[in-house]
């Protein structure tokens, strides 16, 4: 190493996982990175990422999304990061670390944050092709690849991670088994009752659970997994096995250089996270804390990172003496939480238990004789976790029975966060108290200043409740009113322009201004929904309204990533004649468009340039098509199954009803998109219960379900009314939709709206079925006006040369096509040519 006149102290960090990264941030916060050289040896092929959220890779988050390192962080703090280069040996005498690449780094302070490795029981066949562990992004990539050729999988281990892995296998389409040695699932976190509730729910989801069963051997043929032999002697045919039987601290490096390690592993550290060598620290899952435990959770690791950084900066006396093992997770969609003394090990403690096997809910609270809450287990409904955990160690303001009873049974408890003491820890990942949170005024501020809510996220709900008084509910920087308040203002004052609204009701500083990209489309949508009653133009691109619409509405088509648009003609109920199908095919062929059948039973045509849109619509409109409003926050499609007409099970004509509904509500502007479906019988082939409003035929009429959702946060719709006649059904949907449009927030789907609505489904029933507010006549009249006023937006545009003028790529060269919209072939069709676009584009991360 070169000798410099003034010695720059060097900190070497081995392991760039979650805790390692937190340690670097803590060093930077304390200014250590300014005066010391910091070197990081990272074994994995990428910088630190969010291991806790690993499984979300399967729901679409990319490795980049999971990264924990802010852009430019290393450069900004002058940290040297060596990716894919693990430490191989430590020479404590010479104070050097040698990496696999052969580089030797001298250190003044060495920090080990090597995490854990998955424990694989030493059964024969454990190394066969098709055996995996579940720890890194690379593990998941390998599992995903192998699962493509597999049909059945087994997870060894029914703990927290095992169930997460099982959920992932199931999500990959595999028949999935869980084999757990202990007599119940999640033996560490939940007690017997909780395990039983969990078991029932998980089995109902289609996973096969084998508890009290060990794995004796992995059976193989030609080196690949074919099955498992279980401890009861039976064989389970499976194509792949994921081991999730616990983790062990990675302490080999420490052992090799003679540092003290625990009997059962873990690098022994004191309260400052120092190992037996004062120049070496160990933090995170590889460390054996001074309380004799190895913590397998991220929050205690973060605390150790803070402690070590503070000690190294010698700024303050910080110590790590142990941590809370509370957890809440959403396992395969089941809430599971445990906190404090979940197993009731304290002397003389008492249990309060609520258990409902039908709904898979199990809740247990542990209290001491004086009523102090010690801990608990929640399965199936962990909503109250965010409130209960901070109350641990105090006497809750209401009786424990009330805390476990489900809402609606007996007296519902309104236990708000106001009842929490100031020093209650709200975010256990970052150890943030109620007091610290109440110093902030908005969620972004909370996240920025305290980091609360940026870990597992289970505290977000309580944080939200702690902020209301301070939180500005206004729509955006221009309006202090919410969307539904603006709707009421527009309706009662009959305002017909955005300018009038912002000048009279905008925030003082926004009056006279141009608004913003949030309020303009919102007001545009309100004006469109109310057009018939406030006597505004019914054409959304007339006059000032044109300047309010998002680009999709503005061009009546959907903007795609390369600046081209997609076109979706309406196909009501998914029913289409051969002639019309042929026209779509011809249009796509003649304009060179990419065609794809959508989930909404219609056809999407991609790759149109702005200047081609009118010609495409002309062909479609001439053939009897109209706009499908795929671009608008409005009704998309009403899907249907073939129903009684063809299907031997059908009990009503679902196609006819779907067409009737789609034609009735087409073009209705709403706070968010609306989806619907009609099924011809209870077999539900049209998946109506995942829609904003879904209809299922019964022998005597129709059942109406509302508030369903698919997508990222699926929600089963709630039954609003049963056995309705055709007319009753339509009337009820009219009322429901108009009530939603009137009261929902911007971009709030019916599912979230219904969850937020005070009084929930019962209140909705009161209003739209029993007319408790006397609103129904008005809601129906609004819908009638919409239906009367409806016009096809494509035809309206084509009819008017003035309106057509905007459909050019360039205002100064109307005939020139946009040269940046280019395509290349893919599977016999086209796809955007992105190379045209990337020239000179800023690269997000190297």
């Amino acid at each position: 190493m070169s000798t410099t006149p003034t010695h720059t102290p060097t900190v070497v960090l081995v392991g760039h996982g979650m805790v390692g990264q937190r340690f670097l941030e803590a060093l930077a916060d304390r200014g250590v990175t300014e005066r010391a050289r910091v070197v990081v040896l990272c074994e994995e092929p990428r910088p630190a990422y969010d291991r806790v959220q690993l499984t979300s890779y399967f729901s679409g988050r990319t490795p980049d999304d999971l990264s924990m390192v802010e852009d430019g962080f290393m450069a900004k703090h002058g940290i040297e990061l060596y990716v894919g280069d693990p430490a191989e040996t430590i020479d404590r005498e010479a104070r050097t670390v040698t990496a696999r690449s052969g580089q030797v780094f001298a250190y003044d302070t060495l920090v080990l944050a090597t995490g854990s490795y998955p424990f694989v029981p030493p059964v024969p066949g454990k190394d066969a092709r098709g055996c995996f562990v579940y720890r890194t992004i690379e593990d998941l990539l390998a599992i995903e690849e192998y699962a493509k050729t597999a049909t059945t999988g087994a997870v060894v281990g029914g703990g927290l991670l095992g169930l997460e892995a099982a959920g992932a296998l199931k999500g990959l389409g595999l028949r999935t088994h869980v084999v757990e040695f202990a007599p119940r699932l999640m033996p560490v976190q939940v007690d017997e009752g909780g395990g039983a509730a969990l078991l029932r729910t998980i089995e109902q989801m289609g996973l096969s659970v084998h508890t009290g069963t060990g794995t004796q051997e992995v059976l193989t043929t030609d080196g690949a997994v074919t099955g498992m032999r279980l401890s009861d002697g039976s064989d389970l045919p499976v194509d792949m096995v994921v081991f999730s039987a616990g983790v062990r601290p990675r302490d080999q490096l420490a052992r090799d250089c003679g540092l003290a390690v625990g009997e059962r592993g873990g690098i022994a550290v004191d309260e400052q996270c120092r190992t037996s060598d004062p120049a070496v620290f160990a933090i995170g899952e590889c460390a054996l804390a001074s309380d004799g435990r190895v913590y397998g959770l991220v929050a205690p690791g973060y605390e150790m990172a803070q402690t070590a950084a503070a000690t190294i900066a010698s700024a303050e006396e910080h110590s790590f003496t142990g941590a809370d093992m509370s957890t809440k997770l959403k396992l395969l969609g089941v809430d599971v939480a445990s906190f404090g003394d979940a197993h009731g090990t304290a002397e003389g403690c008492l249990d309060v238990v609520y258990s409902d096997s039908r709904s898979g809910v199990y809740k247990k609270l542990v209290v001491d004789r004086d009523g102090v809450l010690l801990g608990g287990v929640l399965v199936g409904d962990a909503d109250s976790y965010g409130m209960l955990r901070p109350l641990t160690g105090s006497v809750p303001p209401v009786s424990p029975e009330q805390l476990v009873l489900p809402a609606g049974a007996g007296a519902p408890v309104a236990l708000g966060p106001s009842s929490l003491p100031d020093d209650a820890v709200i975010c256990s990942c970052h150890n943030v108290t109620k007091h610290a949170i109440s110093q902030c005024t908005s969620l972004p501020e909370v996240k920025k200043c305290t980091k609360a809510g940026t870990g597992c996220g289970s505290c977000l709900k309580v944080i939200g409740q702690l902020l209301p008084a301070a939180t500005d509910k206004g729509l955006c920087g221009c309006f202090s009113y919410t969307r539904s308040e603006l709707y009421e203002i527009t309706r009662t004052l009959r305002l017909t322009s955005f300018a009038e609204l912002i000048d009279s009701h905008g925030r003082p500083e926004a009056r006279g201004g141009d608004g913003c990209e949030v309020c303009k489309p919102t007001v545009g949508s309100i004006l469109a929904s109310l057009a018939p009653v406030i006597k505004a133009s019914g054409y959304i691109l007339d006059g000032e309204q044109a300047s309010l619409q998002d680009t999709n509405d503005h061009f009546l088509a959907n903007l795609q990533r390369n600046g081209s648009y997609s076109v979706v003609p309406r196909i009501p109920g998914g029913e289409i004649t051969p002639e019309k199908l042929i026209v779509i095919g011809e249009v796509a062929r003649d304009f060179g468009l990419y065609t794809k059948i959508t989930g909404g039973q219609r056809i999407d045509l991609f790759g149109a340039r702005v200047d081609q849109l009118p010609a495409i619509w002309t062909r479609l409109v001439d053939a009897g098509f109209e706009s499908g409003h795929a671009y608008g926050k409005s009704l998309r499609t009403v899907k249907s199954c073939v129903g009684q007409t063809w299907c031997r099970y059908g009990v009503q004509d679902s196609v006819k009803m779907a067409i009737q509904l789609e034609l009735r509500y087409r073009g209705l502007r709403s706070p968010h998109k609306l989806k619907s479906a009609v099924s011809g019988c209870a077999r539900e082939c049209a998946e109506a219960q995942s829609k904003d409003f879904g209809v299922i035929a019964t022998a005597s009429g129709w059942n109406l379900y509302v508030g369903g959702n698919g997508g990222a946060t699926p929600r089963h719709a709630d039954l609003l009314a049963q056995d309705l006649s055709d007319a009753e059904l339509v009337r009820l949907i009219d009322r429901f939709l108009m009530f939603y449009i009137r009261t929902a927030d911007r971009l709030e789907r019916t599912s979230t709206w219904l969850e937020r609505l005070e009084g929930g489904l019962e209140h909705l029933k009161d209003v739209v079925v029993h007319d408790s507010l006397g609103l129904c006549d008005e809601l129906e009249a609004l819908m009638a006006a919409h239906v009367d006023d409806y016009q096809d937006e494509w035809a309206q545009t084509l009819d008017d040369p003035d309106r057509l003028r905007r459909f050019v790529s360039f205002v100064n060269a109307p005939d020139a096509p946009d040269p940046s919209v280019k395509f290349v072939p893919e599977r016999d069709q086209i796809k955007p040519d992105l190379t045209v676009l990337t020239i000179g584009t800023r690269l997000e991360r190297v």
Partner: protein, 108 residues
């Protein structure tokens, strides 16, 4: 009245009639060197021009974003990923390392 833009120092080119711009919205124009500009007009009738290329995606789409104002300064929000760009300075308001070119404009 015509709207003119200066694609390079000392040069002016006519883009279109001033009336072609709807206040609060933009249009795209093709420049002599093949680059593209996005022109906007705010509520008070003032015109602005920046390059049309969204630096975050590379797509030529800024002209299709919505114009707004915050603290008295005009901006456009990209229609793709919604980053805001100050129309007077070209600076991205959501990422200080990013900016787009601004072109002088005048009406004659």
């Amino acid at each position: 009245m015509k709207l003119e833009l200066s694609p390079s120092p000392d040069a002016w080119m006519t883009i279109c009639e001033d009336s072609r711009l709807t206040p609060g919205r933009g249009v795209a124009a093709l420049l002599p060197d093949g680059r593209q500009a996005a022109l906007f007009k705010d509520r008070s009738g003032r015109a602005y021009a920046i390059e049309n290329r969204d630096p975050f995606t590379g797509a030529q789409v800024l002209s299709r974003g919505l114009l707004g104002s915050a603290g008295g300064r005009p901006f456009v929000a990209s229609p793709l990923l919604k980053q805001r760009f100050d129309l007077e300075t070209g600076k991205c308001l959501d990422d200080e390392e990013v900016s787009v070119t601004v072109y002088p404009v005048r009406t004659v």
